[in-house]
């Protein structure tokens, strides 16, 4: 999997690179408008993370260029501006997704995985982890081929944790992803705990070979034994 990150903020870029490299992707970077234009002209990428405000030009112009080259498939706009205009313009130009800054690394992974999933597995979207099969489209979970009934929130929590397998997912990232970003500031997200508890119980009862580990005070990590 080849990913291009177009981002001018060095620290931000480094965070994204470090985090995504753990997933064994091949990462390339561009830190300004012209570099980005050069790279998209020459190479093919499975996913492009595109910052809108760049030195030397507007990221939306890069998107236009990608559209001309018919390479907009897999583009995720990453914009610091909390602007609906950017989002609308970007999606109209053919971007796959829009990720507003600031974001959690877990959210970045979820978005990237979702794009890659769509691109690589036409028809089959299933995520398989040991004896657990998750279909993000139909919201169905099977353990050893047997249906595991989960409510919407439990399913979303599980999918998010599976997407970020073996990585720490903070409570905030999880809450914002599953309950929407309006949920913030609510009691340090203690309420997530009861959802996790139910989910753990259901996974255990169905003998799923995955485990949700709590990381003290910060969040959760999904481990596949």
């Amino acid at each position: 999997m080849k990913i291009l990150i177009i981002e001018d903020e060095p620290d931000m870029l480094q965070n994204m690179v470090t985090s995504l490299e753990k997933e064994k992707y091949r990462i390339e970077t561009a830190t300004n408008f012209n570099d980005a234009l050069d790279k998209i002209g020459i190479y093919e990428y499975d996913c492009i993370l595109l910052d809108i405000s760049l030195p030397g030009g507007n990221g939306l112009d890069i998107l236009s260029e990608l559209k001309k080259l018919q390479k907009t498939d897999g583009v995720i706009i990453v914009s610091a501006k909390n602007s609906i205009d950017d989002k609308v313009a970007g999606l109209n130009l053919g971007a796959d997704d829009y990720l507003p800054k600031p974001f959690h690394m877990a959210e970045l992974h979820a978005r990237v995985k979702s794009v890659l999933r769509r691109k690589k597995f036409e028809g089959s979207h299933e995520v398989i982890l040991n004896n657990v099969t998750i279909d993000p489209e139909s919201h169905a979970v099977k353990v050893n081929g047997k249906e595991l009934p989960l409510n919407r929130k439990e399913f979303d929590v599980l999918l998010y944790l599976v997407t970020n397998k073996s990585r720490l997912v903070s409570k905030t990232a999880l809450a914002e992803h599953v309950w929407g970003d309006q949920i913030d500031e609510a009691d340090n997200f203690e309420f997530i705990y009861s959802q996790i508890k139910n989910l753990r119980k259901k996974l255990k009862d169905s003998q799923a070979e995955i485990e949700i580990q709590a990381i003290y005070g910060i969040g959760y990590k999904l481990l596949a034994e």
Binding site: E9, D11, M12, N15, M16, T18, S19, K22, A80, N82, I84, K101, P102, F103, H104, M105, A106, K153, R167, L168, S170, T172, W179, G180, Q182, I183, D184, E185, A186, D187, N188, E190, F191, I192, Y193, S194, Q195, I215, Y216, G217, I218
Partner: protein
């Protein structure tokens, strides 16, 4: 008291004083002139009577006034020698008036060609002082009333016209709102002072608008600039925590740092949201159904409410719809609901009531009534709650202000109640 009435009252008072003093002076000077003129007349009659007496000695013996206007009486020489002319006021019975009336009397002495000395008394009827005073008083009262009436007329027509630019300015100042960002329009005037006033007020308002804008700009820029370093720090911490070699004690410290940074991020996000609402950066509007949004929000908040042991109730008495920005409508509802859940008690309730024109969120709470004057202020915290930014209700107020909605807070039977009227 209005400016016009104020000057009128002053004028009326001052006029009363001036006219009283003037009336006194006028009365005495007029009286003086009258006496002068009467005395001249008496003097003239004296000459005429003496001349007549020289020719006609029959009139020499007339000790009483009777039909005439004079008396003549012989007096011895020594008395005549020391005699001086005296004028005096006296009373005399007047047949026509059937009353004693004041007369002017001249006493004098003369030497007749027959060698004898005579005393001559002459009278002339005099002004009736009380009548004069009464007449004067009446005319002065009329004059005073006339003057006051003219002043009132003048004030109402002339002054009103003159002060027009001032009243216009006042009217516009009353309607002025800094948020509208509209410079104040003034009426053109030729009066120097008003020109200066207009210019000064315009200058003041311009600099106020500029200060207001730069303050808003500052908050917006500051929160925007803070966003990236906060995000980078948080992301780096997330990467650090993924490191498996950390001890529980180290994780505890990292958790605390992450929590605090996340709090800063939330605060920053809320501030930025608030300033963007105040800067009217949500121009898109659409027909928004509040009932749907509320139902969706209540569903999303169920887990939080269950965790807090708070039950949520929805009572739909009608459909609430408005042309607003859907994101802002969502923020408005979420903030009200989260506020009601967060500041609740274990086993408490949140009741949402939707009517065709209003939305009410009522919740049980531990505290007393909050200060309705301050509750919508930034960073006002009724009770300490570490998770809260203190901006939720300020954002609610900013949204209602943006669309001209009205929000009311009340406290009854231990329940806090927020009602938004969309009309």
């Amino acid at each position: 008291m209005k400016l016009l009435n104020y000057t009128s009252a002053y004028f009326a008072g001052i006029l009363l004083l001036i006219i009283s003093i003037w009336a006194g002076l006028f009365y005495f000077s007029m009286l003086d002139e009258i006496y002068d003129s009467m005395d001249d007349g008496l003097e003239n009659q004296k000459i005429l009577v003496i001349r007549k007496a020289s020719a006609d000695t029959t009139i020499l013996n007339q000790p009483e006034f009777e039909a005439g206007y004079f008396t003549i009486k012989e007096i011895p020489f020594p008395k005549a020698q020391t005699y001086t002319d005296t004028y005096q006021d006296t009373l005399m019975y007047m047949e026509n008036e059937e009353d004693y009336e004041p007369v002017r009397l001249l006493r004098t002495a003369f030497h007749h060609p027959n060698g004898r000395y005579y005393e001559l008394q002459l009278i002339t009827s005099m002004v009736e002082e009380d009548d004069l005073i009464a007449d004067l008083l009446y005319s002065l009262v009329w004059l005073y009333l006339g003057l006051v009436a003219s002043i009132l007329l003048l004030n109402n027509f002339l002054l009103r016209k003159i002060w027009k630019p001032f009243y216009r300015l006042l009217e516009r100042l009353q309607k002025f709102r800094l948020e509208d960002q509209q410079p104040l329009k003034t009426t053109k005037t030729n009066i120097e002072e008003f020109k200066l006033l207009n210019e000064t007020v315009q200058k003041l308002i311009k600099s106020n608008i500029a200060a207001f804008n730069s303050q808003k700009q500052f908050i917006e820029n500051a929160s925007h600039e803070l966003q990236t370093p906060l995000a980078i720090s948080l992301n780096k911490l997330e990467l650090l925590v993924e490191n498996n070699n950390l001890s529980e004690a180290q994780l505890e410290i990292l958790a605390s740092i992450i929590n605090n940074l996340e709090r800063s991020t939330r605060l920053n996000k809320s501030l930025s949201q608030l300033s963007r609402i105040e800067n009217r950066q949500f121009p898109e509007v659409a027909a928004t159904n509040f009932n749907d949004l509320i139902k969706k929000q209540l569903e999303d908040l169920t887990d939080l409410a269950e965790h807090r042991e708070v039950t949520l109730h929805l009572e739909e008495q009608g459909n609430l719809q408005a042309q607003v920005n859907p994101d802002l409508a969502n923020i408005l509802i979420t903030n009200l609901l989260k506020n009601a859940i967060s500041h609740n008690i274990s086993g408490g309730t949140v009741k949402v009531q939707v009517k065709p024109e209003s939305l009410t969120v009522q919740n049980t709470g531990s505290g007393n009534a909050l200060d309705p004057q301050q509750i919508f202020n930034r960073f006002y915290k009724g009770e300490q709650n570490s998770g809260s930014t203190g901006l939720g209700l300020a954002i609610v107020k900013a949204i209602t202000d943006l669309y001209g909605f009205r929000i009311e807070y009340s406290f009854q039977d231990g329940k806090h109640r927020f009602t938004v009227y969309l009309t």
